[in-house]
């Protein structure tokens, strides 16, 4: 994470820590999100994701550390910084006796004034135009999430902070949401999204940070993380195949699980591997390319040390 001097990161936390009595909810969170990036904030339940987001948005006071939004230290400039942020918070609800439209009008007023046409536009974007006159108490959880997203987009913010935004959404809604986030990212918006739906995050984020027990334990670009992959194969002579594979310079490692060989090599080397094995009189029964997934990475880093 290197930021240019001309443009500070849209979001930066430095040593952000929150303690409730003896319980450490978040410890020394230091991260930065550059403009136009979609950052996935992952972690098991109770790992500190919502605490981190609440600290960033000024709902909680930090025990140590601080947050900068658009280069503004939120300890001194919280309100003006938040005017440029849209947020969907976990568990946030609306005024149940008011319609979706009136709730948006209230959100718009608090955000500094939003035209009625913009209210209609965002309701259309999240697919709630047809139910805008209905009272929110009649909305399903998925509809409330959509309304929350509409509220976050209402004042055209530069940064979106979304805490479990697809909770309660049906598959179609989740897909629409994913497409919307991608589109926002392409349009130059910065998005910081927490989720436990790893497949969703993998498809929409540029970068991920994984938090566990209040600590940031990994931070990677999704492209780097998915790059590479591995090949799984079974051959006529496993021992001989092992020797051949270990002699190839583009193979970074081979592990054996019975007669299955797992080869750490790029998928486009499959033909070369097949040729090398055949050259030594070893023939393939099976060859499967295996993709690296965010789920593998997540489980690897979050379960590290647990087996011991």
């Amino acid at each position: 994470m290197i930021s240019s001097a001309a443009s500070p990161p849209v979001l930066r936390t430095t040593g952000l820590t929150k303690r409730y009595g003896k319980r450490l909810a978040l410890c020394d969170l230091t991260l930065a999100v550059e403009r136009g990036r979609v950052y996935g904030f992952l972690g098991p339940n109770g790992s500190g994701k919502t605490t981190a987001i609440s600290l960033i948005l000024g709902l909680l006071s930090s025990t140590a550390g601080h947050t900068e939004l658009f280069g503004l230290d939120t300890r001194a400039h919280l309100a003006p910084a938040l005017k440029r942020v849209g947020a969907v918070l976990e568990g946030v609800d609306f005024y149940p006796h008011l319609s979706g439209r009136d709730n948006m009008r209230i959100c718009g007023a608090i955000s500094g004034g939003v035209e009625e046409s913009r209210v209609e536009e965002v309701l259309e974007t999240v697919g709630l135009s047809g139910r805008a006159r209905d009272k929110v108490r009649g909305y399903s959880m998925g509809m409330r999430q959509r309304l929350a997203l509409a509220g976050a987009l209402l004042h055209d913010p530069e940064l979106l902070i979304l805490d479990e935004p697809t909770n309660g959404m049906d598959p179609a809604g989740m897909r629409e949401f994913r497409d919307l986030i991608r589109e926002l990212g392409r349009g130059g918006k910065t998005v910081f999204v927490s989720s436990h739906l790893l497949n969703e995050v993998q498809q929409m984020c540029d970068e991920v940070g994984i938090v566990k027990e209040g600590r940031l334990i990994a931070q990677r670009s999704v492209t780097d993380l998915l790059e590479g992959g591995r090949l799984e194969l079974r051959a006529t002579d496993t021992e001989a195949a092992l020797d051949v594979l270990r002699s190839l310079d583009f193979v970074h490692g081979v592990t054996r699980e019975g007669d299955l060989l797992v080869v750490d090599a790029r998928h486009d080397r499959a033909a070369e591997i097949s040729r090398a094995l055949a050259g030594r009189g070893v023939y393939l029964h099976e060859l499967h390319p295996q993709e690296n997934t965010l789920e593998d990475f997540f489980l690897e880093v979050t379960t590290e040390g647990e087996a011991a």
Partner: protein
């Protein structure tokens, strides 16, 4: 496009609660004017306390009566309940976080909420007063009495404004007390129960201290209710008694604190309640499902 104050008003005016509370206030005014006034007088106009009943419903004496009863029940019922409910539901619904993450400062949030509640309470209580005065004028005409401000010690129009201001000032600290309790406790029950409890406990405490007399009686002058009573007593037209709906002794104004001092003491109470509210809210962690 609506502004923040309009948004705050929209939240409250679209709820059923203020209208139900308004009907209760109107009901109270009807009981005061008709049952405790006109009907009691009409039963036997020559009875010992008929003068007291007459001064209850006949215009313009009824202005002081309605403001006396309205100050007491307006504080306890209308302002106390509405304020407590409007403040704590923001926590229960999770909407307070929605507001704060949109860049409204915490102090701004409280200030706008107080302003909106003040506007709504004033509008509804003035409407209830207007309905009460309508009952009074109607009952006055039924009693064949003249409908005029031109009676002995009768108020002029600006003086009526001052009377309303005094009653409003008597309501304000109870509203801020309810606001403080419901903000600090994040609970409607605490706001309403605390305000009711304070009014009742203070009334009992003052009565005991007054009964003891001497220094104890002087100590009772610290009580908020004594100063509110002093302000309302300054509204009386003439020296005769009337049937008030307020649960407090019909004290001789000379034995109550001076209304000007009372106004200052009330403002001091208001400042204390506001200081506690803002201090707690500005430092508070706002978490999910509080």
């Amino acid at each position: 496009m609506i502004n923040v104050l309009e948004a705050e008003l929209l939240k409250v005016r679209t709820r059923w609660m203020p209208y139900v509370l308004f009907l209760m206030m109107v009901g109270g005014a009807a009981v005061n004017m008709w049952l405790a006034g006109y009907l009691e007088w009409k039963q036997d106009p020559s009875a010992e306390f008929s003068g007291q009943a007459y001064r209850t419903f006949v215009f313009p004496y009824s202005i002081a009566v309605l403001l006396d009863s309205g100050q007491f029940w307006g504080s306890a019922i209308f302002v106390g309940i509405l304020t407590s409910s409007c403040v704590s539901t923001e926590y229960n619904w999770g909407t307070v976080r929605q507001v704060l993450v949109r860049g409204q400062s915490r102090a701004g949030y409280l200030a706008v909420k107080i302003a909106a509640l003040a506007i709504l309470c004033a509008a509804f209580l003035l409407a209830a007063l207007a309905v009460g005065l309508f009952f009074s004028v109607w009952a006055t005409s039924l009693a064949d009495a003249p409908i005029t401000l031109d009676v002995r010690d009768g108020p002029s129009l600006p003086e009526i404004g001052l009377m309303i201001f005094r009653a409003a000032l008597g309501i304000l600290p109870y509203g801020l007390l309810a606001f403080m309790l419901s903000t600090v406790g994040r609970s409607t029950a605490l706001g309403i129960g605390g305000t009711f409890g304070y009014i009742i406990a203070e009334g009992i405490g003052v009565a005991i201290l007054q009964g003891i007399g001497g220094l104890a009686a002087d100590l009772s002058d610290v009580a908020l209710g004594r100063h509110a009573a002093g302000l309302v007593a300054a509204n009386r037209i003439g020296s005769g008694e009337y049937n008030s709906m307020a649960f407090r002794e019909f004290a001789d104004p000379a034995k109550l604190p001076d209304p000007n001092v009372g106004a200052l003491v009330i403002l001091l109470y208001c400042l204390v309640f506001l200081a506690i509210t803002f201090t707690v809210f500005l430092r508070r962690d706002i978490r999910v499902h509080q």
